[in-house]
């Protein structure tokens, strides 16, 4: 039975475990600082497919299947799949799961999708609604550029505040398996926040207020302080959004700087890889959490992590109609299991 803490947070008293993860990234992400943490690096970001969208679907399907394999489970043992992507009508995920025999809950939270999927899958396992559930999210640089910005063939110049959509997919298997696995303990579901930012090349600024609101609410609801966490990882605010979030949180009395990082900053070498403000896309916090953060917990290099995936909720239509960019952020607490888990 879930225990509600404060305004927006659930404490998962049955402590669902993340029994396996799998992360697949494109070649560019595979050259970045986290390359040794990913499970698979593609040689070709088309993954043998004819279109970017089909490539993204392929990567998405592969990460789900391989995470299930890594958990030593069969597809028919997975009772729910919670997942999504950035494409219109969740094209990448819907076409990925059409070949899987798993009941599907389609989620859209823009780049916040990984924390939302993980939160929902954790709730389903915690509540006894599923023995095993999978959480997944994906994105692809080229399908996102085509859909949200301009055809790659145009060679449009990027703004210095822009972020680089990560090509990749991450999947986690949640379950109550015996063993020393990382545990999901808290889920904070965010509200949509809109402070009026209209620049689609500055999504970090659009998402920062949502990140601040969710992190602050998480602290208030749970009683946790920044020092209770070894890592607080937003994903994916980028360099500018991270600075704004730090500042906004300082103004309300929380200094998270000692433990704070951002998935969009970790995944690329910002200077060397020409990605401007860093990575973005649902795939960003998905692969960073399934690769880097998960391994940190498994290796007991971190005891407690807060994953705060952040999403910018505009569409091309809303931007063409002069609308600002609403943001949302969802947060999930993951603790390492076993002995070091106090």
């Amino acid at each position: 039975m879930g225990k509600r803490l404060g305004k927006q947070t659930l404490k998962l008293e049955n402590r669902p475990k993340i029994v396996a993860t799998y992360s697949i990234v494109g070649p560019k992400e595979g050259e970045g600082p986290l390359k040794d943490y990913f499970h698979e690096i593609l040689e070709d970001d088309m993954d043998g497919q004819k279109t970017y969208e089909k490539a993204e679907s392929n990567i998405s399907r592969a990460s789900i299947k391989k995470a299930i394999n890594a958990a030593n489970l069969r597809e028919d043992q997975i009772e729910f799949l919670c997942g999504g992507d950035l494409l219109n009508q969740l094209t990448a995920t819907n076409f990925a799961v059409r070949d899987l025999q798993i009941p599907f809950i389609g989620l859209y939270g823009a780049c916040s999708t990984m924390a939302l999927s993980l939160g929902m899958a954790s709730i389903l396992v915690d509540g006894g609604y599923a023995k095993y559930a999978v959480a997944e999210a994906s994105s692809h640089f080229s399908s996102a550029e085509r859909q949200f910005r301009a055809p790659l063939e145009m060679g449009t110049q990027r703004m210095p505040t822009a972020q680089w959509t990560v090509t990749g997919s991450g999947a986690m298997v949640l379950g109550n398996k015996k063993g020393d696995y990382p545990i999901v303990t808290h889920v904070t579901i965010g509200k949509v926040k809109d402070y009026g930012e209209k620049d689609v090349s500055n999504m970090g600024a659009a998402m920062a207020p949502a990140a601040m609101d969710t992190i602050r609410t998480h602290f208030e609801d749970t009683g946790f302080k920044p020092e209770d966490y070894d890592i607080i990882a937003t994903g994916d605010l980028g360099k500018l959004g991270k600075e704004i979030t730090e500042q906004l949180l300082l103004e309300v009395g929380y200094d998270i700087r000692k433990v704070y990082t951002d998935c969009g900053i970790e995944i690329f070498d910002l200077e060397g890889q020409c990605v401007d403000c860093g990575g973005s896309g649902c795939g960003c916090s998905a692969v960073v959490s399934c690769g880097y953060l998960y391994r940190k917990l498994v290796r007991k290099e971190a005891k407690r992590i807060l994953l705060v995936s952040t999403g910018a909720l505009m569409s091309t239509t809303s931007s063409q109609q002069g609308e600002s960019i609403p943001g949302i952020a969802h947060a999930v607490t993951i603790e390492c299991g076993g002995d070091t888990n106090e």
Copy 2:
């Protein structure tokens, strides 16, 4: 604690209640056979806004707020909002909820969204994760035509197999309030099914296999037979999709014809209102369930209803790339509360 039945169904043992609903429809829907069941009929489907998308957002927000009002609750008592729409990046819903202070779980299931939202909100209440949660879905004829088909200004001729996207939004408040309210007892989450249909003007045919699969699985999982239901309402297969679903179910041994209807057929006068095969869009099963079906249960004119919202999961990009149309269907059992509830 949720009890899992068979492969895909959850039995909600705490019997969450639908304590209030609200349905808003456009003028055309307000001239149809169900006009007396809706809570509000718009005089102008632009609802005072400058664009179709903003109108849809407005209707979506209004239905949520008015459902909360109808439940005699305040916005801050609602712990989760589960909802979605057909627009790219859930534009209608995201912009609707930006003005609401409710934690938001964005769902995309194309026209299956109402059953998915209702299912998820019911699970959250059943598991003790929320005292009150709202389920919502919306669509708008003109925003859908612009996005999926052709600009209205072109006056494109419709195919006889086409369906008419409903302008409307429906919202339900789930909770454990004392009193004689309809109860959600079972949730069957569907799988994505694709039988190769590629005609975007024949979505009923594309969705029928998913409807069949979910209804059959629901019967197998629960032990219910067609005669255990007073109404089985798919939404929105339309005339052709309904016939195919009946036939497919007959082939696997289930004759649901005596209790079977389709939200897309109920909402319009198919002959008189020039809607070809009937209504469609997330808003269709949303307003039919929040208006017509809910009142049938409240008035004890039906004891047990199965709502099976059905979604066609294509995007314009996937269709341009020659892909077929995957479908999904989710089913929720609603019983009338109180004395007649055996």
